[in-house]
Symmetry: D2
Subunit: 366 residues, 4 copies
């Protein structure tokens, strides 16, 4: 499979460039009978829209989702769901330096190395707009999961050095602040930090956390398609993500087994764990606890300062990136992480239906 598809059972294929006529996704393998409207998808897309705070670009991206297939009389039919978003901003302009220079921290050079040709307009396929397809598909996956009592939530864990400790989490206020932080005071601090970044013609990295509640135990495939391995790929495939961890993550490297092991106990007749250092997976399968993952997001590579680089002819030069750019990618990537986690969960739930004969007999035996 060429790289623009993801998932084996719930499969998404995305397409489109930043400045082409449109961008979209095809979602194949979504079970029939799921209520779905364009509005469900729009809600997700609106969360990645710029212009919601002074830290996201002023560019107008009034992305309207249209469903072209796979839904009939308000329900999915089991056939591929094609979602399209028309690009608003395709006006011809001067891409001057971007066309001829390799921007540091961007994929200009590597795309030329791979393909020998590059749609340089606004980053082409490597633009952040590529995530529109992911988010549209994520909205469908999230709808499916909800019907099964499974909920995915992502939020900003840290911006630069400002990290919200777990003890200060208030999930209720994630939507209250434009940074999608689960604590408004930390959000205020992060805002101040970002203003400083902008003043310095600089940008900031950060961290996104994502939780999945309600996942039944046993989901994921052993060995290569472990739930955590699949989540790692899904989230690391988002541009700018440079690290992924599950549960204790990198902290477990410093821990001892007696601390890290989660003891099992019984709770109202159900098997539960006393702690959750595992982050909800054991042996790559969900263990019935909350699934917790974190993604490290690098600082926006587009900064206003002059940077040294080389041009397409192999001459050393320097570049100053003009235009407005978000000083931090994190807030707009929150819904992308949530989407990729939802798609992964939906895909593995479908794969898991063949885990035991008991399930086949439940469905096929007459």
């Amino acid at each position: 499979m060429a790289g623009s598809s993801y998932g084996n059972s719930f499969t998404i294929t995305t397409w489109g460039e930043s400045h082409g006529p449109a961008i979209g996704a095809v979602i194949d393998g979504c079970p029939a009978g799921l209520p779905l409207t364009a509005e469900d998808i729009q809600k997700f897309l609106d969360r990645r829209k710029p212009g919601q705070s002074r830290f996201s670009t002023a560019r107008r991206e009034d992305d309207q989702a249209e469903i072209l297939s796979g839904v009939f009389e308000g329900k999915t039919t089991g056939t591929p769901i094609s979602v399209i978003v028309h690009n608003q901003d395709q006006r011809s302009r001067d891409y001057g330096r971007i066309k001829d220079c390799y921007r540091p921290g961007h994929a200009d050079y590597t795309f030329d190395a791979k393909y020998g040709i590059r749609d340089y307009r606004g980053g082409g396929r490597t633009s952040g707009r590529e995530t529109i397809g992911r988010v549209a598909a994520g909205a469908v996956a999230a709808k499916l999961l909800q019907r099964l009592g499974i909920h995915v939530t992502a939020y900003t864990k840290a911006i630069g050095g400002i990290t919200v400790p777990e003890s200060a989490y208030d999930y209720e206020c994630i939507g209250d602040n434009p940074l999608y932080m689960p604590n408004n005071e930390y959000a205020a601090k992060a805002s101040a930090y970002l203003e400083n970044c902008v003043k310095n013609q600089d940008s900031s990295g950060g961290m996104i956390e994502c939780i999945i509640d309600g996942m039944p135990a046993g989901v994921g495939e052993p060995v290569f398609d472990k739930l955590d391995a699949r989540l790692a790929k899904a989230v690391m495939s988002i541009g700018a993500v440079k690290g992924v961890e599950i549960g204790g993550g990198f902290e477990t490297a410093r821990m001892t087994g007696s601390v890290n092991n989660d003891e099992f106990c019984m709770e109202n007749g159900y098997i539960r764990k006393k702690s959750n250092h595992s982050g909800g997976t054991l042996g790559g399968l969900s263990d019935g606890s909350r699934i917790v993952l974190r993604a490290a997001v690098k600082p926006t590579p587009s900064i206003a300062r002059e940077q040294k680089t080389v041009d397409v002819h192999g001459e050393e030069t320097s570049i100053t990136i003009t235009g407005r750019h978000d000083p931090v990618i994190v807030p707009r990537a929150v819904v992308v992480v949530e989407s990729m986690a939802a798609i992964t969960a939906a895909d593995l739930l479908l794969a898991n239906m063949g885990a035991k004969m008991e399930y086949l007999e439940k469905i096929y035996r007459r």
Copy 2:
């Protein structure tokens, strides 16, 4: 695809349980004409062998690799390479508690939840012996990469809190110490720490670093099959790995763009970067620099202390895990990380051959 296969072009399928008659791998898609012997594979397997230091188990696992197909007169033929390793230690024994109890930090419970049946002997499919198939395949991939001037090297970056700083690296001594650390003094400190762990009936986590040198620029697929996304999945799919990062990784979350961006420059007529915070990938494609990834490995869950848990009947109980177990997984997992990285690199190099018409014309045009 069920979860026991990995890779699209260079595809491996592994099989086998800890205490079944044998364990193995099928490698499909390896190009014809690669010189290959059982000895090539044995060298890799020997690196994951226990009993090489006092921190690995005394169990005798004299794993001998046999090639059953796909090689003729010392060269690969392009047909699937089947490698088998017979399990030595299959004697019937008393698995008593493991059979009826869910060990904390292990996959006993989640396998029962998924399949309703579990081969409890020595962990069955979830045993560390599952990695034998990965390492056998990794040896083949590494051989292929070498022919193209690409080299993969993994080593122990940290054990518990003992971390080797990059400034102290001496790659030459990785093989000198049983912990596969790139510095013998740090290895000595780590050994002392591990002895203390054993004394306390406890275990330790750690960190593995892996580098790939010589990768041409442009390898990887945009969007979902990015080189870093694929490496993340490959490495996170190794049991006990709880986090993966590329280049600056989680540190980039705290960095600013002006620091994190790697400026381009010219070096002997080639495009190079002045720094490598990217860890060798930009936009998910190799950028011609060294590829650098790190994996966090949790502490061995099997510890000698008594732990609380529940049994298969849903009764709370406690368990004391007997037998000798490595106090740290890291040293034996080093070659597994190297193998998964090599397999991923080989797979994406093959996928990349279709990137441009120029390549097709080079091969097919008469």
Copy 3:
């Protein structure tokens, strides 16, 4: 993979229903640097257009292809090519009986059995319009093949009992007659036969033949992805195709080995075969000869006569299908067979690039 994608390296994903807003395809894995315009695709689409003869429906399907991504300055960029065709005829109308009844020979009943919901308007996803996506992708594949000197041609071999014998082939006149037959006299006979079918409120089956010239020897994958196996799947996946054969096909069942075997000989320094009963494949790999396949196409199931059937409530009833329908599917399916063959050939040519180390060294060794 859910069923709307085809191909591993050159991958197409199609979507869309007969009476939705649009129908389309995403082509992923097309090498960069291939000259491509909407006109290239339009030419292929025009060949499946109805209304070209009195044996195709009078419905207006003025299908205009638009390329939404993956092409920049007239060349493919290596990123997914999204092609869309807007449906012209979406007006609300009375689907009455089709909504409530299962048409004999159609997929109405099986879709309800599978999904429990069905977009009954014009057949929804099971409409012949589904092939638009295949043909758009086929045009791209054909363009790629041409650059490598490979040519795919399909034509009508038989309609009802009127079969053009190989001795009467004149490839030049395929485009001369509306039935796409390689002989105008046979085409005239077939026309007369079809007029009679229409008079009888009946329809006719037929046979399509497809040849691939210029395929280098050795393309295809042994065992499950043999070139002929892949062609069989590709062509049998076209609605209404009930049989596929390669070379001698079903005739070989009656032959003896001494007749069927093609002896090898030398021709201008090249290895050739004295005959081509194999149809261009040996052991599932191309043998350097012309590839020849035939597909049997069933009669159009929509006929004007009253037919007995059952309704969605499980009551026996009868149905008379109104509206104009082609009395034969064959002529419009010719370009669909050609497209599926081209896509398969392109996909396997890409897969074959990893067949030997020599190819990798040609591309990667510095």
Copy 4:
């Protein structure tokens, strides 16, 4: 995916050459809890064993199946099932002409063209022994299907010109005659014909028919993974098969719609068809009727007569193939066709479990 794997959910990977140490298959994705023994597999393998009649080779191939993984205490565990069959006949011998010459009708030339290297001993990977892995996997699939009330049966429909008409079928006697024909008198006639072939140093083609009973309606995936398309690929991938048809097959090309359409009716409250020209599929999904497919098998290419050919150096020469060879491939291929059909059915039944939300809710909703 390289070509040695088949199936997306129920996935088989086969490996092994004719004269290597062993041959085998890995079956991944088989649901846990299916009772399975080596004996189940042996029964299938015995059906492809030579030496059962005077028309199969006298070579001793006492193929004993061993299960190496995936089964515990008599039941599948959900992990990959590895089956191995050791090759008995590996003695070094003189392969003389086969090594240097391209046998007409064999894959010697095409393998050299693809890989530049070929294991010439007994045909290597292109030997009929390659089907051992398919049959082992087919036995597992058949066992799974039986538990759901689905039964697959293949038999010899024709040898040379001797075709058993449907009116003469007696399924009871398939196992009675060494040709696996459903009529002993036709089998006797076919035997006489084959003796004549042997006398003439020649061989014969034939036809295999396969039926699947008990398949619920709605199984298969629309568009590219139609049940009939998948069966076509599965069966065409068997060496020597040159054509595949479903239901009316090539006959439908000559038929009219009023004859070919199967009218629906009610039978004991179930929707049924009055005839079965469709062969059990409509729109690529099972329609609840018996699934019927036929495969054309070419004559054994190894014949005793001298044949003209070329050698590996490009010199014209002639070859006389020594050793005993079956004068017909059909009887031994019957169980291979049955196996491929069973694997395909099992794979699509698993895929179909995600067809509607109702199924997911049945399994996951608490």
